[in-house]
Assembly symmetry: D2
Homo-oligomer: 357 residues x 4
Amino acid sequence: MAVKDSLNAGELRDYYDSADDINLTPGWVDWGQHGAPEIEPFLWRWSQVEPLVLKSGEVVTPDRDVERRTMRLATPGLQRGTTHTLLAALQLLLPGECAPSHRHTPTAIRWILTGEGAYTTVEGDKCAMEPGDLILTPSWTWHDHTNEGSSPMIWLDGLDIPLVHYLKATFFEQFPEDTQPVISEGDSVRRYGAGSYRPAWEQVDVPYSPLLHYKWAKTNEALQNLAGVNSSPFDDVAIEYSDPVTGGPVLKTMTCWIQMVRAGVHTKAHRHTASKIYQVFRGEGYSVIDGKRFDWSQGDFFVVPSWAWHEHVNESGEEAILFSIQDTPIMKSLGLYREEPYVENAGNQPVTSRFEG
Amino acid sequence: MAVKDSLNAGELRDYYDSADDINLTPGWVDWGQHGAPEIEPFLWRWSQVEPLVLKSGEVVTPDRDVERRTMRLATPGLQRGTTHTLLAALQLLLPGECAPSHRHTPTAIRWILTGEGAYTTVEGDKCAMEPGDLILTPSWTWHDHTNEGSSPMIWLDGLDIPLVHYLKATFFEQFPEDTQPVISEGDSVRRYGAGSYRPAWEQVDVPYSPLLHYKWAKTNEALQNLAGVNSSPFDDVAIEYSDPVTGGPVLKTMTCWIQMVRAGVHTKAHRHTASKIYQVFRGEGYSVIDGKRFDWSQGDFFVVPSWAWHEHVNESGEEAILFSIQDTPIMKSLGLYREEPYVENAGNQPVTSRFEG
Amino acid sequence: MAVKDSLNAGELRDYYDSADDINLTPGWVDWGQHGAPEIEPFLWRWSQVEPLVLKSGEVVTPDRDVERRTMRLATPGLQRGTTHTLLAALQLLLPGECAPSHRHTPTAIRWILTGEGAYTTVEGDKCAMEPGDLILTPSWTWHDHTNEGSSPMIWLDGLDIPLVHYLKATFFEQFPEDTQPVISEGDSVRRYGAGSYRPAWEQVDVPYSPLLHYKWAKTNEALQNLAGVNSSPFDDVAIEYSDPVTGGPVLKTMTCWIQMVRAGVHTKAHRHTASKIYQVFRGEGYSVIDGKRFDWSQGDFFVVPSWAWHEHVNESGEEAILFSIQDTPIMKSLGLYREEPYVENAGNQPVTSRFEG
Amino acid sequence: MAVKDSLNAGELRDYYDSADDINLTPGWVDWGQHGAPEIEPFLWRWSQVEPLVLKSGEVVTPDRDVERRTMRLATPGLQRGTTHTLLAALQLLLPGECAPSHRHTPTAIRWILTGEGAYTTVEGDKCAMEPGDLILTPSWTWHDHTNEGSSPMIWLDGLDIPLVHYLKATFFEQFPEDTQPVISEGDSVRRYGAGSYRPAWEQVDVPYSPLLHYKWAKTNEALQNLAGVNSSPFDDVAIEYSDPVTGGPVLKTMTCWIQMVRAGVHTKAHRHTASKIYQVFRGEGYSVIDGKRFDWSQGDFFVVPSWAWHEHVNESGEEAILFSIQDTPIMKSLGLYREEPYVENAGNQPVTSRFEG
């Protein structure tokens, strides 16, 4: 045993007390191996979420007091996050409303779920929001949302607020007016949206992707094209949105995926130190996360915590499409990304329980 | 005067001779400032080129003796190049023919001009050749061309042969068979062609762009989109094809541009240490290169040598579209790229002569 | 006011309850601007620390039960860290002892304080520990410490444990034996230690600096040389240890500095989103951190939290030398680094209090 | 046979003529495999070179007419280069002389051979020239040389003039005065010379190594240290000078090596697409280049052309030290670097001839 017996109990207590007096703590405590994830995988059903999101329109107005009207996906065990690094929330914007202009160091994405007629302005570029679109509002970019349509608009916000807060790097600023001036409409798409082409003379002088808006039609085209030729054993047809200038992830702290689990596919399980938040964009199926089965269908959200085994299954006759945000870039930048396949049982976990919600 | 008079003429001659005997040469000779380009700008008319290219089909067969049936654009003053670093040539492939499979360290692009029904296979991926398509065959990739259609196929080959030859790095190898096995059809497009999306799990382990084929429809979409929002003073609406993984030029030694000179546009002149070879894909207009006017219309080719002043003019009522290859990546990689605007005369050169061809 | 009055108090309570039932939380709570740092700057006196560190030798043995005999610098408000991302601790190794071999994903540095005759073995390379030396044990490298000398050895451990723990990426493994085999002695220094020279044929295939040991003689030479020619307004003569292969910081999550505050120098104040832990290697002076004066002399430790104003003063006639570890690489990798100068009062803070310890 | 017989001889001649008329040339000519190097390896003896270099002091003065008094190593077959890309020359500067200040796009290195008391000023930093020192004058940096000592100063100039000239990127400018103002003395060494340490706050805003001067004492220390621990089969103890900020080669177009062939060592042969120019700094031995033996001793120069097999032998009892410049960075930047070991005969070439000089 490591603790010597040269000091008696009282002397030992005195020793610890005198260390405590000058803010020293004994370090002979193992920091532990990486045990079970402290947060549990979880799932939110759209059928339950949507009414409450719609009702939030009766509760609060997105003015300068609240800035945004959102309902956060609060994973059990976490106070202000959906994973330890990321936060997902549903934002509602009613016809005629405007979520006022501001900027903050946390980075955000918007994944458009329902409605039409609204737009987000990012650094002066007006981006029309349509279901399946991904809109980026990178760290410290001015942005505001306006609903000029006639129906409620709901989208998924994904942010790295827990990380930025942990790193004590949260800064926030309001724009002097409720909305920033619109300088252009869809310019980022027209300049960088066609794919592997770029304005030949432009120097990109912003520290983020000059493409801020990924339209669903193109995203779907990419997905369908890839589905014809290749797939991953763990994720089936998985596509990462990329920054046209660097070829890397669209954001420094988050990456976004669109993923098809084809009809009849049952992937192998693996785990990694990245955590993920999924939205079921289309179709139905289930995922097995750390041995628990999570059935999902269109509109649902679920979270795969860091280092949790996970696999995806589509027993329906239709393709299922999943959107996700992941903190992979954080882990890779800091040299902390790890991944391992589940090797027993032909790569699939025994299902030991089922999420009842 | 720098030469001293301490040695008389005979002694000086003896001195130079004894140096020459042991392969020393006096260095007191200025290496000169960058004077006028040693090669002149030049233009080839499609109306003259096409019949001779078609006739080459009667002269030679693309078998293992000749490998390729091409007619090279030989700029006056250069023996084996179109610029000092690049070579452009027209390749003809008749119905039923196959240009046999090989690979070489010079890098090549194929810019498809006329015909249908042919394809290039690059490292096993079959790429259908259609006018306006750009196909890459990077350094040391296996490639062959087959015409399964019913009409002659003509395309522009662009290569860095003069550079690679100068650098004594030319290697060449024949594939054991006339054609390599086709493993996939259009996979590079289906995996990387949709734009800023990439297969999430793939590690690109080749030292070149995993996208080998840029289809005209997408290229044109990029061009039309950009035309609506931005333009360069020197090149009007200029787009650089890019590598989806790096965001940089598609090749290490050459970059490719598609460029629209809109109706009524007259650009400013500038010059740079990169050289360019243009093909007029659509429309008509003229360029002024070092004070000489070069009128061009659909199908023509012209060369802008290194450090030559140049500007483009479209006085027609229709857009003109120019494709080009340029050696810019070489100059930038080696720290030798320079560019300067023409400042006199409001940025436009006086026209002092006209190319008669 | 943002909260509407369309729901009465009971309805509102019901609404929040039903959201809570399905793990949704209303997001209309400002996440706040970056307020005062939650941790206070703090200082530990060597005169108080050293006796307790030496006494730890009577309390515990660095065997497989405890792995390491360390006393941690526990900043008030933090349970297991010195800043929110970094942990500093004093390690004691008595003559004849060995701190057994292991590896872990947290990255560590060793800054040698007192003693002689001990060494650290890192991935088979035996590094003799002498005061002023910096030894790196990057993430997932095998390391163990052995004291073959006749006096107690004390050094400062700096680790990113709080960060890695927060990111749920802590992995730990014991080497099968107490010590790993010694393959070489000082090889990393002999291969990469002379400066801007590298073995011409070696491919560095590890994801960390191939130079693991920065000897004090060279560090001091660098510091003295720089002192003759240049200084920073905020940090006086400040040197960052660098990775010879990348030119960047020595570790992905921490950077190390050696810094001279010359006699008579009073720097300007600034603040940044990086946090720092200092050790006073030589000399005496004081720092003003968020308006509080911290007097320090040889052997003391102090912490500058994220976004705290700080400036350094040396009123003695001798140079003061400070070693520090900082989490700057984390903040820069994630795009969250910010810095600003203190502009009022000619750049120096009014001193409003004094640390009494 | 590829050439068809559908055209008779006259028709064929007419066809070629009409192509020639419009500057088209038939491409059905193989560009050939990479054959024997067109330049031969060569060697210059110091005993022959030195007297002629010294005598050049009687012939010419380094004033604005000639700029520099150099004798170039002219490899047989090349007009103005020592290899196809690089030029080496011996420069003589007599006591009291100054080689006037200028800058040019070709990049240069200076490897100091004999003399004392002279210095090179590079962008205002005065660098004392001592035998074994390497001084960089990167592309477009102002530089001049002054001999304040009492003996003739001789050094080796290495430049990429042939490359830059080939790429039509040669620019040259004279400084308005014969010498530029001296702003600092040895600053680049004092800021970046100690090794893997860098001024913590400095942003390097020049496109070249901020360390311009590599002193012999450090170079030798690096060499001796490495000799104790590791060696390359092809080059024995070979060190590449590196840029402290990037960790890469010191220049974009040339790399510099210092290399020890230890007593008794006979390396294996290999070849690569890079070319090299060697100076024998100390000791004696021989190299076998493409089967020919080149005996060398202190002061000699020899050239290893691209793709020539080469190996080094030291049969003396003393270490031999070789300095070299190489065009490797060009080849690697452009994706054209290749290397292969000589596999027959246990890795050593049969010696079939001997260089007689």
